[in-house]
């Protein structure tokens, strides 16, 4: 197998990209180790060599966290490109291609399902959909998920992976930060439990709103988490950034996340946390 791969790498460079994603093997973006896909999936999409946590589609993440069946809600909400935005690409075209690539209408899925004996509302963002950016649809779906958790008195869990607010919807995107935070304030006042999971990457307006407002904040190891992007910071200050800057471990050290948890242990941690807050003594 290894030989076959080496040959692919050397001899078929041009087709490498096509071969690998659909094939049995994939390369770790962090340590370049070739990984057998089926094994990788069994390992929760974590590199067995360097523990790199792959960015994965939201459906896979939902399956990791929930038991069996779940029900998606508000899947039909779609962006209507309110500014008729066009830069180098048309936003409407970007939406179309993201929809066909991911099979969802925007960068988050919100579902109702079970974790152990707990019924929960779960939102999982999808980085493949325009960088997991938050526009009106993500904001609205998060808000409705919060409302549903509040009405049903279920715990709320949101797993973020997002480059921040979606520029192509201008001021509307910015206001989703306000909207989701205001909804969480109400949820909080009524005693709702909100667990925020930060995965790679969680930056910009997503971090500066619902992602940082969890009663409990859990980060996956090595995830990039911050407000400003590292490139912008580097440009502004004019020198290199320290090693590990804006990674989960840095956030833990600085006091902005409760715990770092490997993806393989995440569900157990959620169960324990939910048991603690939601079961009678």
């Amino acid at each position: 197998m290894v030989d076959w791969f080496r040959r692919t790498k050397k001899g078929l460079l041009g087709t490498e990209k096509k071969v690998i994603p659909d094939g049995l093997w994939t390369k770790c973006p962090n340590c370049s180790e070739y990984l057998y896909k089926r094994e990788l999936e069994r390992n929760f999409w974590v590199c067995r060599q360097c523990r790199y946590h792959f960015r994965i589609p939201c459906d896979d993440y939902i399956k990791i966290l929930l038991d069996g069946d779940y029900e998606e809600f508000n899947s039909n909400i779609k962006s209507n490109d309110p500014l008729k935005f066009k830069a180098l690409k048309r936003y409407s075209d970007q939406l179309k291609s993201a929809i066909s690539k991911t099979g969802s209408n925007d960068a988050i899925k919100t579902v109702i399902g079970n974790i152990s004996q707990h019924e929960v509302i779960l939102g999982v963002m999808d980085f493949r959909f325009i960088g997991g950016s938050m526009g009106s649809v993500v904001g609205e779906k998060v808000s409705r998920a919060i409302d549903m958790a509040r009405e049903r008195k279920f715990p709320l869990i949101i797993a973020s992976s997002s480059g921040g607010a979606r520029m192509m919807e201008g001021i509307f995107s910015l206001m989703q930060m306000a909207k989701t935070s205001a909804k969480l304030a109400r949820f909080h006042e009524e005693g709702g439990l909100y667990i925020s999971i930060l995965t790679d990457p969680t930056t910009g307006g997503t971090t500066a709103s619902f992602a940082m407002l969890g009663d409990i904040i859990i980060a996956e190891p090595g995830a990039l988490i911050g407000f400003a992007g590292p490139r912008v910071i580097k440009q502004t200050i004019g020198h290199d950034l320290p090693e590990g800057f804006q990674r989960s471990e840095f956030l833990l050290e600085k006091g902005f996340t409760d715990i770092i948890c490997e993806r393989s242990k995440l569900k157990q941690l959620l169960i324990k946390t939910l048991d603690f807050f939601c079961l009678n003594e």
């Binding site: 508000n74 039909n76 909400i77 779609k78 962006s79 209507n80 309110p82 500014l83 935005f85 830069a87 180098l88 526009g135 009106s136 649809v137 904001g139 609205e140 808000s143 607010a165 520029m167 192509m168 919807e169 201008g170 001021i171 509307f172 995107s173 910015l174 206001m175 989703q176 930060m177 306000a178 909207k179 935070s181 205001a182 909804k183 969480l184 304030a185 109400r186 909080h188 006042e189 910009g204 307006g205 971090t207 500066a208 709103s209 992602a211 940082m212 407002l213 911050g226 407000f227 400003a228 912008v232 910071i233 502004t236 200050i237 950034l241 800057f245 804006q246 840095f250 600085k254 902005f256």
Partner: protein, 318 residues
């Protein structure tokens, strides 16, 4: 007027100089030029109206950033009496990019917060160009909670190129500080009035921008990212900022059309920087009128309305 002159302002400045010259000649030589001067002044007014009613979005952005434009402190000096500035977040430091304090406007006691830019390079370094660190947002929240405790309305003046992107800012939780403010401001039990007086860049603006009403001065911009930031990401060229400003629809008038702005405050002819005193007077009227209206609404209803206001923002199909 001293200072920087924008390209599109140049014909106005030239005409003004001409009028000024004629006045000087008239005074020095005792020649009566009043008719000519009157004519030129009429021409000037028409020119101002013509130029400023046809500005494109990028030109509005430039006006919003005009170095002679009044900043928070200029308004404080002009419209409040007995201003007591309060400093520090009580955790880390006093952020000079956000000013907070106790103010009295025509006998009405309010808590005032606002971004503060510098008037010159030295001052700008002191004010960090109006770009707050987390401690700025935390100071603002501390003082807003004080307002809540003593039942005083809050006025927040927004004018920032963005929250500062730096190492210290990230270490001390820029995202957490902003998120916390959005969360807490949405449920403050006093009226909160937001006025965009210059630039409203992204989370840096929104971090002190949740309130019952959002007012924008006429020549301001407010969006999810600066036109330059958008241009460098989506056009791979910060120089395309004028196009990005058009695409993102960033001006006060745009926000009115998009249903975000509650009121556009008309600026004096040619913009706030051409007549800061007049601008302050207009702003004072708008603040007092809006606070009067908000103070009549029972607080539970006000908060309900505030949450509903932000809840309906956005645009989607289903």
């Amino acid at each position: 007027m001293a200072g920087i002159i924008l390209d599109f302002e140049r014909p106005i400045i030239e005409l003004e100089r001409k009028i000024e010259e004629m006045r000087e000649i008239s005074a020095a030589d005792g020649v009566d030029l009043s008719q000519e001067i009157e004519k030129l002044e009429e021409k000037l007014n028409k020119l101002i109206e013509k130029i400023y009613s046809n500005l494109n979005r990028w030109q509005r952005v430039q006006l919003a950033r005009h170095p002679n434009r009044p900043y928070t402190m200029d308004y404080i000096e002009r419209i409040t009496s007995d201003f007591i500035e309060l400093h520090g977040d009580r955790y880390f430091a006093d952020d000079k990019a956000i000013i907070t304090g106790l103010a009295t406007i025509e006998g009405r006691k309010i808590v005032l917060i606002g971004h503060q830019k510098g008037k010159n390079t030295k001052d700008n370094i002191y004010r960090n160009f109006g770009m707050p660190h987390p401690e700025g947002y935390r100071k603002a929240l501390r003082v807003m909670k004080l307002a809540e405790k003593f039942n005083k309305p809050i006025v927040s003046l927004i004018d920032t190129p963005g929250a500062y992107p730096g190492i210290g800012a990230e270490e001390r939780g820029q995202a957490e500080a902003i998120a916390k403010n959005l969360f807490e401001m949405s449920r403050l039990r006093v009226p909160v009035l937001i006025v965009i007086i210059g630039e409203g860049a992204s989370g840096g603006a929104l971090g002190i921008g949740i309130g019952d009403r959002i007012l924008l001065l006429e020549n301001t911009w407010y969006s999810v990212i600066s036109p330059e930031g958008c241009a460098s990401i989506l056009y791979h060229d910060a120089g395309k900022a004028p196009i990005a400003a058009e695409a993102m629809k960033v001006t006060a008038r745009d926000l009115e059309k998009l249903g975000i702005a509650d009121e556009i405050i008309t600026e004096p002819p040619g913009g706030a920087h051409r007549n800061p005193s007049k601008m302050a007077e207009i702003l004072k009227e708008a603040i007092l009128r809006n606070l009067d209206e908000l103070s009549k609404i029972p607080i539970d209803e006000l908060i309900k309305k505030r949450i509903a206001k932000f809840s309906q923002m956005g645009s989607w199909d289903e």
